[in-house]
Each structure stands twice: as C-alpha cells, then as structure tokens.
C-alpha cells in the first residue's frame, strides 16, 4: 500500500473536521477525495502532506509511519488551487526549488528541469516569471515543481478550481497523462463529481468529516450505499418504498428491485430507493411502459440542454403512488428526468402534460433509517416535536421527511410502524418508549428539548443478537452528523481478569464489523462496572453527547434504563430494538 490512513481524526475547537478516516491507496493509484466544501477533504490532504497535525490516528506512506514526520521529510509533492508559485522566481527557479534545497548539481538540475517542462508541455518558458503566464500554464509549472524531487506521492488540492472550463479539461488530461506515465500514487481533492469521474481509479466520498464510501466510480454511481453519495454523485431521485415479504413496493405497486438487506424479524419496513434521472421511463399511459410503473405525474418544467432534455415532473396524488423524498416539503418534491434526443422525438412533451412514469432500474439503499415519525400525545405537540433542531437537522441532512402522529391516533389504527419514531424526553418518555416498542416500533429516538447536534455518540448493546442492527443504525446516523463514534463495552465489576478476554474480543469484532460493513470508524472503550451507571457517567462527561442503545428485551431494558431515559435535561437516545428469536417474532406478528 502506498498511502495508509488509520483512524485519522483532526479537531478544531473540539469539533472533528476529519473524523476517524481510514483509507488505503494502492501503488500508482489515482484516488479522488470528493466532497462538498467543509467536508474535511482538504484538511485530510494537508494532513497527508504533513502541513496539518492530527489529533488521533496514524499515517504511513509506502510502509513508513510518517505521523510525526515533518512535511519536508515526507517526500510528497503538493499542488494548490491558487498555484502558490514563488512569484519573484522564474519558472526555472520555481521548478528547481526542491533540487536547490537538496543541493543538487547544476547540470543535473537543469536536465531535470528540462525533463519536467517537457512532461507538462511548457518547453522554452524557463526564464518567464509566473506573472507572465496564463493560469493554466502556472498550474502546469506548479505540477512540474511538485514532481521535481521525485516524490512518492502527488497531492492535488482542487488544482482546477481557478481555471475556466476549457483549460480545466486540457489540464485534467495532462495531469492524468503525467500520472500514468510516472505511475505515481496520486490523491486529488475536488468538489466536482465530473472531475472525479474523469480522473479517478477510486473515489472516496467525504461529508461532515467522515469518509462515507470508497469505490470505483462506476460502482459508486450504480450502487451507492448512502443517500448522500447517491445524491452527490450525479443527480438522483430518492423514493420511499416498503420492503415486505413479497419484495419492494411503492404503496401497493410492486417493483422489481434488489433489496440490499434481508427483512429483519419478518417485518415489513421502509426503504429508500434511488432512481437516476436517466433511468426514468416516460410514457403517455401506464400500459405503454416497458418498465416498472411507479407513478403518474404532470410535467412542470422542460429544459433543453443540448444533448439531453431535462424534465421536472410533479407526482400526482394517488394512494398507491411512490413517495418522493426531497430537500423541501413533500409537496414541493419533483421527479427529475433526463431524456436523450431519440427518446424526446418518440414522445414530445409540453409543460402540463400528464404522463406515466416507469423505473428502468432502481437501487435500494441499505440504510436502516428511512424516515422519522414524530409522536406526541396530540398532533400539535407532535408538530412541535418535529421542529426540534436536532430532528430537523437530521431529516434535512438525510434528505428524508418527518411524519407527525398523535399517539392516540396510533393506538386506534395499529398500522405497522415505518421509520424511526421520535418522542420527547421527560417523565412520560419511558412509558411511551415501552408502548411504541410493544406496538411494532423498531427504533425510537428520545429527544430532550433543544438538544444540540451531538459531538460524540456512544454505542452500546447488551446482547450480541442486536449488534448488527445497532451498528447499521449507528452508521446511518453517524454519516449525517459530525460526531465521534465510541463503542462502549462494559464488563461487570468483579469479573476476574481471565473473564475479560471475551468482552475484549467482542469489542474488536464490533469495530471490524462497523468498519467493513458500514465504513464506520469507531473508537472502543471498555468500562468496568454496572452498565447503566457506566453509560450515564460517560454521557455526563461532556456536552452534546448522544447514545445509541441496542436492546432485545423490552421489559428488562425499560426497567434498567428508566432513570437514564427520564433524566433531566437528558441526552438524545436512539433505541434499537430487535427480538433475538426471529421466527417467534414473525409468527407473533402474523397472528
């Protein structure tokens, strides 16, 4: 491995900007770190270069641990967005800078410089000053300068950001060609997905300081695992569907789609389906569709963009129609469609036309948190709960919706639960949690009033049967908040030293599973004592803490955690409930 990052964390004022990131970049690989601004990608790149110290973790380059090695001894080349050329030096002096520092002989220096200028196609410009060159040429000089000392790793920080479109593409090709020719391991940081697709062997997508997914460009596009990657890499329509024993359904309409996770406990639940704009089929009527019907809609907007036609279609209210998840309110959500010219000629459309929509290809996300349902004694209180800052920011970041239900209403129509039930913290919380869990809720979020967005999330489960589900839910949650994840393993007091091996192993297993299945890096802590008091002690140790709690037995859990749940002001607690015996639970539910 050429670059190995192991659980790298960087905090600014206690807020992690790079949060437990682990990456392995192979020899000669072109790795693109993609993310919106503020996602921590540039900080991570600077950490690799050694310009930013890290608070936790290790960095190694070509098998050498460089965590505490100074930037100048790391042997990396770095290219900046604003070129960062030495403006008082000629092109030749800029390129030879690293060689002069190393006291290389003049003859060798000149030979190396000529070689590099040829590589970046700038022969003959040796004696120019940077100010006399165009932006594209300056960036080429910067690339040549970064390569002069034959670094083992080339790092590029948004190198095309300051250039216009045409030069950008030209330089992109040059950099790709140079990288291939030298076979140098390269990491490029960008917010531009098109750039990432054009250059990368592997893309790593970052958001809120976390590395969400790593993979081949094509795999990430076709099979994203998270909502963020689905919508950030290209456009995507996110649809709320249900996964039942008979497969995936939109309302009552079954569709062909591969479920990414098996059903748990035999219970029907919500899933999120990704529908790419180019995978939507448009026809006049349902019968004319050659693919899966999903809904009817009215064309609202048509935009001509040259090769493609862009449509925005409003879904018409039908009881069986698919539910669209948008960033705004559900009423404003629109299906985005792109059609090629042949498709357009086959069925010319005007704004206002009513059409049937089909999905040629749907991808179901493996995310266990599909939506939220704010539950309170009355509808008004539930509305208020839905406006809680934490719940609001979670649903916005997850691009999902928050439903509202009065608990009395729930009692009257015991429909199967969908999504995460959110309730207010306080005295009644314990009873409500118990009632919800007994009536089919699988996850309950207990929200104290005005809880801040957490900076640290503790994860704990008592029974290994709920490990997988708890980890999945935690991972889904943590992709959307910039918080540290800490798994808390607890060994009862008085356990002999020999008895600690098993909990220790569980701890490591949990960490490996979180990393491999969900790409979630988490810390592990082993506490000795009584579970509830240890958890409470840890939660009280800092501000803005949160707990994800996996439970298997309602009665026992409610008794044990009563005080923690009822604490004032308390902490946000996400309870993940899974019955250990799947068969029993399914039959019970069927009855």
């Amino acid at each position: 491995m050429s670059i190995v990052l192991d659980q790298v964390t960087k905090r600014y004022q206690d807020q992690p900007v790079v949060n437990d990131v682990s990456i392995e970049v192979g020899e000669g690989e072109f790795f693109v770190l993609l993310g919106p601004s503020g996602s921590g990608k540039s900080t991570l790149l600077r950490a690799i270069a050694g310009l930013t110290g890290i608070d936790h973790g290790r960095i190694s380059l070509h098998g050498r641990d460089v965590t505490h090695v100074r930037a100048r001894d790391r042997g990396v080349g770095l290219v900046f967005q604003n070129y960062a050329l030495f403006r008082h030096m000629t092109v030749a002096d800029n390129i030879e800078f690293a060689l002069r520092v190393r006291r290389m002989k003049r003859v060798e220096r000149v030979a190396r410089r000529k070689e590099l200028l040829k590589l970046v196609a700038l022969e003959g410009l040796d004696e120019r000053l940077p100010g006399q060159l165009s932006g594209g040429q300056q960036q080429r000089v910067a690339v040549a300068r970064a390569l002069a000392h034959k670094p083992q790793v080339l790092l590029l920080d948004e190198p095309f950001g300051a250039l216009d479109a045409k030069i950008r593409e030209e330089l992109r090709r040059t950099i790709r060609a140079v990288q291939r020719e030298l076979g140098i391991t390269t990491v490029l940081v960008t917010h531009d997905q098109e750039e990432a697709f054009a250059l990368a062997d592997t893309i790593g997508v970052m958001n809120h300081g976390r590395l969400l997914e790593v993979g081949h460009p094509h795999d990430l596009y076709a099979q994203p695992a998270t909502r963020f990657v689905a919508t950030f890499l290209g456009a995507a329509n996110l649809l709320l569907a249900r996964q039942g024993a008979d497969g995936i359904r939109f309302g009552a309409t079954p569709v062909t789609a591969e479920a990414s996770e098996p059903m748990y406990a035999g219970r029907e639940h919500e899933v999120v389906a990704v529908l790419r704009p180019e995978e939507v089929e448009v026809a006049e009527a349902r019968e004319q569709l050659s693919s899966n019907y999903i809904a009817r809609g009215a064309v609202e907007e048509i935009a001509f963009t040259g090769a493609l036609e862009r449509l925005r279609v409003r879904l018409l209210d039908e009881p069986c129609a698919a539910q669209l998840l948008g960033s705004g309110s559900p009423a404003e959500a629109r299906v985005e469609i792109t059609r090629t010219q042949p498709e357009r000629r086959e069925l010319p459309l005007r704004a206002g036309a009513q059409v049937a929509l089909g999905a040629r290809r749907l991808h179901v996300l493996p995310t266990p948190i599909s939506s939220f349902l704010a539950c309170a004694p009355t509808e008004a209180e539930a509305e208020e709960l839905a406006r809680e800052p934490l719940l609001e920011s979670l649903s916005t970041r997850m691009k999902t919706r928050v439903g509202v239900r009065a608990i009395d209403g729930l009692k009257e129509s015991p429909a199967p639960f969908a999504g995460v039930a959110a309730i207010a913290g306080g005295d009644n919380a314990v009873a409500t949690v118990e009632w919800l869990l007994r009536h089919g809720a699988a996850e309950v979020l207990v929200l104290p009033r005005n809880a801040p967005s957490p900076t640290r999330v503790y994860i704990h489960w008592g029974d290994e049967a709920v490990r997988r589900a708890t980890l999945a839910v935690s991972a889904s949650l943590l992709r959307h908040v910039s918080a540290e994840a800490v798994y808390l393993g607890i060994v009862p007091e008085g356990t002999p030293a020999t008895g600690r091996a098993a909990p220790m192993r569980k701890l490591l297993d949990a960490r490996v599973e979180a990393q491999q299945r969900h790409g979630l890096e988490m810390r592990t802590e082993l506490a000795i004592g009584e579970a509830v008091s240890e958890i409470t002690r840890n939660l009280s140790a800092g501000s803005a803490q949160m707990l994800v709690l996996g439970i298997t037995d309602i009665t026992q859990a409610v008794a044990a955690y009563r005080n923690l749940l009822a604490a004032q002001p308390g902490w946000p607690v996400l309870i993940v409930f899974r019955q250990p015996d799947v068969g029993l639970r399914a039959s019970e539910y069927a009855a």
Partner: protein, 280 residues
C-alpha cells in the same frame, strides 16, 4: 505617466481643471519655496558655496545626520519587520492596541518625544540610570540621536511592510515546506524576497524622515559642535546668526539628498511592481 493621454471618459471629469489645480498647488507649496532656496544659495559665489558646505563642522554634521539616520533606519528595518510580522501573523490579546500605538510617533509632536526620551535615557532617567554604570551613555551622544530617530522612523517601516506580509500567502510557505525547505530557508528564499521591495521602501522612508528630523533630536543630542550636532540644527544656528545664504547652501545639500532618496523610493517601487505583478 508622463504623456498626457485622455481617450476614454474618466471617472473623475475635468482633466484640464484637475491638472491645472494640481500644478498650481505643487508650485505654490513645493516648487516655489524650493526654487527660492536654490536661488538664495545661488546668490553666493561658487567657491564660498563649496567652503560653506564642506566646512569641517558641516561635514561632521552630515556624517552624524546621515550616519545616525542610516543606522536608525537599519534598526527599524529589522525590528519594524518583526513587529509587522507579529501583528499580521499572530492573534493575541491587545493586538489592536499595539497596532494603534505604532502610529503614535506620527501624531506626537516630535519635541515631546524628544523630551520624553531625554528624561528616560538621561543619566538619572528610568533606563539611563541602569545603562550609565555599564558605561553606556545614551542621552547627549550619537546613540541617543539614533534612538530618537528610530522612534520617529518606526511607523514608516511597520506600515509599509504590514500589507506586504499580509500578502505572503501561507500556501507559499506550505509549498516550500513540502518541497523540502527548512524554516530558515523559507524565510530567506521566499518571505524576504517577497517582502523586500516593501522593506526597502520602508527603509528609505524612515531614512528620509530621520535625515530631516529636528524636533526630537535637539533635546536628546546635547548639540555639541563636531560631536552631536545634526545638519538641520546647524542650519538653524546659521539662521540665528543671520547667515541666510549659508543656511540656504546647507539646505540645498539636504534637498539634493532628499530628492535622491525619494527618487530611489519610486524606482524601487516600480522595480518591485514589475517583478511581482506583471499582468496575469
């Protein structure tokens, strides 16, 4: 811009009026008094002129004036740079306060700062009482003159260098560091060359100001002929002796040197701009 060109409509209209106004003011305030000075000096015959400006007392005063000014400007270049660096690069409590104090020598009547310095550095002053036993006499020596001139010139260096340092992007230092350069190397090869034009400008301004300084120096200098007598003071003495022509002759020497200094500043700025900011 020495050619009159007016093709595109300017933001400020009335080019003729503005040029006329500028020329008038320049004449009334700068050129006519200077011309009068030169004319006055021209009134004496050439050998006498040479005698006056090369008299031992005058030469000693030049040496002191220009030597002390040069030294104080050099001291300012080093410490002014350090001060400007600290103000630009670090955030510390009271930074704005320190930043405001920098301008104090601009505003303070120079006589006041001269008296203050004398009080502090005299043999029985706050600092002087500790320096005296060590054999360092500050007040009434060339050292005192240099200290006074340093105080007067300091804001010139700090204020010219500050924006130049602010312009040195961190990225440049980072780039140099990843290329293998150590801190001192970065300082010597990247930071100093980038800031140098501004630093030289600051140096020249401080030097020119120090050459012409009078108010603060007369108090701390002691004004002993041949020892601690600066040229402006000598001019003043000649005026008191009603030797107007002699004063004008010395004035001409100062004028010529000041002019060379200012010309040097402008050339330096031009040179720096050409090097750093060729059209992108």
């Amino acid at each position: 811009m020495n050619k009159v060109r007016q093709r595109e409509p300017n933001v400020i209209p009335g080019f003729g009026i503005t040029l006329g106004f500028t020329t008038f003011f320049l004449c009334a305030i700068v050129l006519i008094p200077l011309a009068a000075l030169v004319l006055k000096a021209g009134g004496m015959d050439f050998s006498r002129f040479i005698d006056v400006i090369t008299s031992p007392r005058a030469v000693a005063s030049y040496r002191l004036s220009f030597g002390a000014a040069m030294l104080s400007a050099a001291v300012n270049m080093v410490f002014g740079f350090a001060l400007a660096w600290t103000l630009v690069r670090y955030d510390f409590p009271g930074r704005n306060f320190v930043d405001a104090i920098i301008d104090m020598p601009f505003a303070l009547p120079t006589a006041v700062s001269g008296i203050a310095l004398t009080a502090v550095f005299a043999g029985n002053g706050w600092i002087g009482q500790y320096l005296e036993p060590m054999g360092i006499k500050v007040a009434y020596t060339w050292i005192g003159i240099t200290v006074a001139l340093t105080l007067i010139g300091m804001p010139f260096v700090v204020r010219t260098v500050q924006p130049a340092i602010a312009e040195v992007q961190r990225d440049l230092e980072d780039a140099a560091e990843t290329l293998g350069a150590g801190r001192f190397y970065v300082f010597r090869r990247i930071i100093i060359p980038t800031v140098l034009p501004a630093l030289l400008t600051g140096f020249t301004l401080a030097f020119a100001r120090a050459v012409g300084e009078y108010g603060s120096v007369v108090f701390i200098a002691g004004n002993m002929p041949m020892k601690t007598e600066i040229t402006p003071l000598l001019i003043f003495i000649k005026l008191e002796e009603f030797d107007y022509v002699g004063a004008a002759a010395l004035g001409c020497v100062m004028l010529a040197i000041s002019f060379v200094m200012l010309l040097a500043i402008n050339l330096l700025q031009l040179w720096g701009r050409k090097r750093m900011m060729v059209s992108r």
